[in-house]
Symmetry: C2
Subunit: 416 residues, 2 copies
Amino acid sequence: MATPKRQRREPGGPESPDSVGWTHARSVRLADANNPLPLEIGGNIAPVDVEYETYGRLSAARDNAILVCHALSGDAHVAGWDADAQQTGRTWRLRKPGWWDAVVGPGKALDTDRYFVVCSNVLGSCYGTTGPASTDPASGRPYGLDFPLVTVSDWVQLQARLLDFLGVGELHAVLGGSLGGQQAIEWALAFPERVRKCIVLAASARLSAQGLGFNAVGRHAVMHDPDFHGGQYYGRSAPEDGLAAARMLAHITYLSGKGMDAKFGRRIQEGARARSGFDAEFQVESYLDHQGRAFVERFDANSYLYITRAMDYYDAATRWGGGDLVQACSRVRAQLLTVSFSSDWLYPPDECREFALAVMRNRIPVTYVNVHSDYGHDAFLVEAATVERVLRGFLTVAPPVTSVSRCARRGGCLCR
Amino acid sequence: MATPKRQRREPGGPESPDSVGWTHARSVRLADANNPLPLEIGGNIAPVDVEYETYGRLSAARDNAILVCHALSGDAHVAGWDADAQQTGRTWRLRKPGWWDAVVGPGKALDTDRYFVVCSNVLGSCYGTTGPASTDPASGRPYGLDFPLVTVSDWVQLQARLLDFLGVGELHAVLGGSLGGQQAIEWALAFPERVRKCIVLAASARLSAQGLGFNAVGRHAVMHDPDFHGGQYYGRSAPEDGLAAARMLAHITYLSGKGMDAKFGRRIQEGARARSGFDAEFQVESYLDHQGRAFVERFDANSYLYITRAMDYYDAATRWGGGDLVQACSRVRAQLLTVSFSSDWLYPPDECREFALAVMRNRIPVTYVNVHSDYGHDAFLVEAATVERVLRGFLTVAPPVTSVSRCARRGGCLCR
């Protein structure tokens, strides 16, 4: 197949030696009427098709697989350049490589010369895995809000099926940022025997009340859009204004106040007239406007509802420890790395550290790194050089030989 | 007139000795065709009627007046119980006293036995002062978006007209929180000779990029509501869903993350079924939902647009110092008190402190207090006991006799 026309040719482009190059997503049916997927909240779902990508090769010993879990609006296209972007209408992928291309590729932290890297799109999404826009076998029309409620746990169970299908037993590592980090946590708790290393970036064991509130406002905007029609808007106008508002709002939570001041301050957008009314005139307004408009081009409003609800519902302590996070974390067998970012206020350092501490209280080795950054929650993507360095170190070191013992230090120690 | 039926009879009710009791708002025309109000951004407006309340009596020397400035969704009803609430349809006032009743009344910090306290509703609002819902003399119909853009400066100019009307020359003090605090700043800069004491709570000299972003999302929600009709929705359905979303969002910015965790955590609303779908089930969702619904009962969507825009536009440095806040603050002649709240992230302590520093760099006395609180931006209302104590002290002390000199201390000093 000819390569798509317009592509960046700068370093990191598809021909770059550290790029995985052109990629093709694959799809596999992992649940059908004979083998439906049981869901955490109740019921089953079938069929379930899963879109996924892999980079590198599974070793003969099948011991080099790394599972990457994507965040809220992410997809299976982690690295490289989507060779099918034009045909599938995912044209935004023509302009940039996969969402974590900075860390996945030959010689990078997730070295595809060494590891077999897998990422799949979550159940309920709109990027190839079965979701609210898929046909409901019961009605013959798109599910819409008849799609069942799905959870982080369901996603992990489905990923386990995918790994079975790919012939992967134990993972060398599972990792992800934000909602992807919560999937990594769930992996360490649900399948302790299948995870050697677990890396959780910019994520805690449960979303805060503030985070719940922001998600609620976003969904309010979507569901009160006059084009929402109870979720059955397929084939006609989608609730774009509501989804754009939800994304604009969410985007603010991905940045830090300090970062926004540095990036935009109170500067007026080029071409805009200052103090002219209610159109976007500050740069920050114009930026958020753009983010909102770009998002509705590529995301399904119902998927936004389902995935934010899964984010709301995830609570590792409730799921595995009867409400006690330390008890839940007693299940962990993986070596664990938790990375927080100093200016992240969606999953703030304190809350990330709380998870690390809960693991440590079980005398299970854990490495906790708080990266200083003004990029807020987005830092797990933006601070690529730092993240790359931290991941590389953790993925390549041998398991620790010392066990964790009670720390005698006062003050700055994580054990406090 | 008979007092309204249903009222709280608990301490602080209308008969309480520390309450200003039953109140009646008054209205006065402060601009007409012969004497229109010039506006900062351009043009004039007339007529302008202003709703205001006063408590206490102006002394014979006319030297005991205190002007209170209200915040975004506030009104002139600062203290006491609105005797006209039933007739005017402002029925929510039947359930509670004025918005700052905790600090205004006999024996309180703003002691109405001692001071003549004045508060007026801002231009563009919907509580009796001329605003977008008022009749545009040019068209004979409600202004809607034909209402001119108004600014904090315009509000202050109009308040000055009100004080002239009331026979008040110099103010003993001007004060306010949030957007009311910015009016207090503007008073100190625009009328330095008319202000003896200026108290700025939970406000800085300009809104941050993050704050601009939140306002933009709120307005986006209002203006994309199908009932908005370009602002000409009067007499038919108002854009309630959009305004509710804007308020829900804004409300999150008034609280702190820690405060929300303490107040709501991840608890499920009584009567709601956990993990049942997209209706409000977490307490925080239910709370925000209620806040949104209650707000649309009492506020006008166009006023929300105009007042948030005034909040966006205010920048003391640009208005009075050519962009230099220190230069702008050289105009200050008042004794100044700035109070920030540790968990406020809408006008964070750092930014409040920046204003105090700019005044201090002019060797003008300033008192800066950072109140430790988990109540976020709302703390200026919620931490009433602390605020009361701070205000009382500052309002009653004599002017300082020492001048500010360069500080030799390293570390914690404000002069750094």
